[in-house]
Amino acid sequence: MNGRSLAWLAALAGLGLAVLIATSQLLDHRIDAERQAADERALLDLLPPGSYDNHPLAHPIALPASELLGDPAPTQAWLATREGTPIAVLLPATAKGYEGPIHLLLAIRPDGRLLASKVLGHRETAGIGDRIEPARSAWLQIFTGASLAGHPEAEWRVKADKGEFDQIAGATITSRAVVSAIQHALQYFDGHRQILLRSPSP
């Protein structure tokens, strides 16, 4: 490689770098806003639109790591309120899936019943275990309205284990993991009502 080639390459690298930096500077705010909007869409679509009037994501509730939530790291929950009254707590939970952790988000009513749940991320087998995704099947909806009070401990299992909940055919391990993660999260909610339902001081 001669000097002229090197000069050309340096010019190309410099120009490329300049273009990239300029573009990312220009788009920085836009991308941040998009990321925030995407995160909000991903988290808040569990709640019926208009059912809350605060900005839950603006006041995360810090939670220490807990066995019941299945997450080895400290995590956070969010409280949705309407005119100051709590209507739901958004609580993350992690299930030990077949291929790895399944990250769930649960919306729990103040009375301890499950309002809605969704899968935030998973690595389950495409076409089988991925039926936990709302886009793939309605399976996760069988938990809507479920509560610890409504189902005694022995019922918090899949039907294959003589419990109350249907399993996904071919994905019993995935189903078991989700059932137990939801049960544990509800137990966690019961144990931590005070922190979770306390309206954040403005």
């Binding site: 190309l12 998009e34 087998t125 039926r131 099947s137």
Partner: protein, 190 residues
């Protein structure tokens, strides 16, 4: 010029990025302009750089274009960018294939981009239809709330094979065989 010239290795990223039609659309939206612009600028590199320098320059240019596409997609459709993940950066590979050709002009870039787009859309549509028994899932990633109700579901479940990489191999092979068959026949007929 036939499909033969567009070597298969550049299509590998399609295996990872086409399990839903919207992801095929996304990778095509990024791939077409990247390939065209790359082919437009490439002659300048050819004129001034040789051998190792040429390859380094081509790589720099391809990486720059892929990064630009990634930034623009983040600003326009963040969820789609998230879904495509690392596959977007693999657009460097089909670019380097263009660089490997004896000589290139904008038409070659356009041709490569169009083959890439066609295959991305076909694979995306076929894999979503066969693998998930649905179409137009998550078009709101690109078009916003308007497209929320666009999703079509036919039948309860697809054939999982096609949602996975092995099914993508089978479909891509079939599509390429078909394309080759068609282009060869037109070349033979006089």
């Amino acid at each position: 010029m036939s499909v033969r010239h567009f070597d298969l290795i550049g299509l590998v990223l399609l295996l990872g990025a086409t399990d839903l039609l919207i992801k095929g659309v996304g990778i095509a939206l990024a791939g077409l302009p990247v390939l065209v612009v790359f082919a437009l600028v490439l002659p300048i590199l050819r004129r001034h750089l040789q051998d190792a320098g040429y390859w380094l320059g081509a790589f720099l240019l391809a990486a720059l274009l892929a990064s630009l596409a990634s930034l623009l997609l983040q600003a326009g459709a963040f969820e789609l960018h998230r879904a495509l993940g690392p596959y977007l950066y693999l657009l460097v590979v089909p670019c380097l294939q263009l660089a490997a050709m004896e000589s290139t002009d904008a038409v070659d870039g356009l041709y490569a981009g169009l083959v890439f787009t066609l295959l991305a859309l076909l694979l995306g549509a076929l894999r979503e239809a066969l693998g998930h028994a649905s179409l137009f899932t998550h078009f709101d990633w690109l078009l916003g709330p308007v497209a929320l109700g666009w999703r079509l579901q036919f039948g309860a479940d697809g054939i999982p094979l096609f949602a996975l990489a092995p099914g993508a191999f089978i479909l891509l092979g079939t599509l390429l065989a078909l394309l080759r068959h068609l282009t060869n026949r037109t070349a033979d007929s006089r």
